[in-house]
């Protein structure tokens, strides 16, 4: 999986004003998202993009909706499949409040990497999906049957949960097996 890095603070300064560090107002958020989307146009669907908030000051709800929620919503193919995978990094508690609010409103989830390198799912995830993701994240690349056995559920239930995780960009199918995006990161040494 190819690793791509986008500095949101840099995108803000390039697209709106070189003096700004706060992501506030919807027009600002829309401009930053378009800047990011232009960079993403060149990549293919097995690319992992790190969206780095380290150099962002304030993030308000309107900007979080534009830069985070709409970025996820727009990154789908004509067939409705996710295009690319995202990992959000440098997200502080103050950012998280706005991000969680817009994810909840839109029914979205995303992966956030904290300072210690651990990766967490943010947003609402069903009980079965969360259990499946946590198990897949723990065991690494697994077939659905092996994962179902590890969790202690039926193959059908596990396949259903894995499909949902793939649709929500939390896991990826590789041949006949699955891997959590967070595990793929570790495999690539992205810390």
């Amino acid at each position: 999986m190819i690793h791509h890095h986008i500095d949101v603070g840099g995108a803000l300064r390039r697209s709106v004003c070189h003096l700004y560090s706060d992501l506030v107002t919807r027009p600002t958020g829309a401009a930053v998202r378009q800047e990011i989307e232009q960079q993403l146009e060149q990549i293919h669907d097995r690319t992992l993009t790190v969206i780095d908030f380290s150099h962002v000051g304030l993030l308000d709800f309107s900007c979080a909706d534009e830069v985070v929620a709409k970025l996820l919503l727009h990154s789908i193919s004509d067939a409705g499949a996710p295009v690319g995978f995202f990992l959000f990094r440098g997200v502080r508690d103050e950012h998280l409040e706005a991000i969680e609010a817009v994810l909840e409103r839109r029914g979205l989830v995303l992966l956030i990497q904290t300072e210690d390198g651990s990766v967490h799912v943010v947003g609402e995830l069903g009980e079965r999906e969360r259990t499946t993701w946590e198990s897949l994240d723990r065991v690494g690349r697994h077939s659905a049957a092996a994962l179902a056995a590890a969790i202690g559920t039926t193959l059908q239930e596990t396949l259903s949960a894995l499909d949902a995780l793939c649709a929500r960009r939390l896991a990826i199918k590789l041949d006949d097996s699955y891997i959590a995006i967070s595990s793929a990161l570790v495999a690539r040494g992205i810390q």
């Binding site: 004003c17 506030v24 107002t25 709800f61 103050e94 609010a101 409103r105 839109r106």
Partner: protein, 298 residues
């Protein structure tokens, strides 16, 4: 003929209604003199609402500022006269405009808001001073500074996104002796734009019920997070403001048209919804965050 509109000695969101009651019977092109000579105190809401009032008049209004030197001086430091002179014919003594500089109670001078860039400026300026005021003087959590700035940003964006014309924002701290006996920080955001009801009416295909009025429009927007935009991501700003005031035991009050809706904390006795007020264009918002005191200090 000029009609004199008397400004009460203490001008805040409640007493501003007395000003609007005097204005209500007059046509928009009637000549008015806003007489604030006896004013002794004004909240940021009072000052920004006075500017907004001037914007609503079709004939340039006149204003006589406070006679009391300290009051007039404070209005000047808050930036009132700087903006009032473009709206009103100013009568009487107008103090020299001075930046607030060392004035600790003025967190943000009266600032015009019309564009996205204005919100950036407001947010940038407030962060410089908010940390000291909110944490040291109001004993709020250090993380509250960013959330306060977020709240301010969302409040200002209501003007940019919905009002259709520019408005004003001001932030001030003061000791609210009468009602609370504690220090408070108050955000006032006032505009004379289209208001909540007309903004929601502009949404295509929006059904209007028999009860559709300013009060219902405020309930829809503030309580249910409805926006004129069909995009489900819209309407989150006011929800964020509500979360912030809920966390810090604050009060949110929004007046639009003939109604005012309030999220009322236990320390206040305001009504949740006031209807049948004197009609006034636009939207006027006030956010009040009280000083935090430990349980043992109550």
């Amino acid at each position: 003929m000029t009609t004199v509109i008397s400004v009460p000695p203490s001008l805040d969101d409640q007493t501003f209604e007395l000003v609007l009651e005097q204005l209500a019977p007059l046509p928009a092109d009637a000549r008015v003199l806003v007489d604030a000579r006896h004013a002794r105190w004004a909240s940021p809401y009072g000052l920004t609402a006075l500017l907004t009032l001037g914007q609503t008049r079709m004939t340039r209004p006149a204003l006589a500022g406070p006679d009391a030197e300290d009051t007039a001086s404070y209005w000047a430091r808050a930036g009132f006269y700087r903006h009032a002179e473009s709206i009103y014919d100013l009568h009487g003594h107008v103090p020299r405009d001075r930046p607030s500089g060392g004035e600790s109670s003025v967190l943000l001078e009266i600032t015009p808001v019309a564009r996205s860039e204005d919100v950036h400026e407001v947010v940038g300026r407030i962060q410089e001073r908010a940390q000291q005021i909110l944490v040291r003087e109001l004993s709020l959590d250090p993380q509250s500074t960013m959330r306060f700035a977020m709240t301010l940003s969302e409040a200002c964006q209501n003007i940019v996104e919905h009002a259709g014309r520019g408005g004003w924002v001001a932030v001030q701290t003061y000791r609210w002796q009468k009602r609370l006996g504690r220090r408070v920080v108050v955000i006032a955001v006032c505009d004379a734009g289209i208001g909540f009801r007309r903004s929601l009416e502009s949404a295509h295909g929006r059904p209007r019920t028999a009860r559709w009025d300013d009060a219902m429009a405020l309930e829809e927007a503030v309580i249910r997070g409805v926006s004129r935009f069909r995009d489900p991501g819209r309407g989150q700003g006011l929800a964020g403001v509500r979360r912030f005031i809920g966390k810090w035991d604050g009060k949110l009050s929004i007046r639009s048209g003939t109604a005012r809706i309030s999220i009322v904390p236990p320390w206040d006795d305001d009504v949740p919804l006031a209807e049948g007020l004197s009609a006034f264009p636009g939207a006027q918002m006030q956010i009040t965050i009280p000083e935090r005191i430990s349980a043992g200090a109550r």
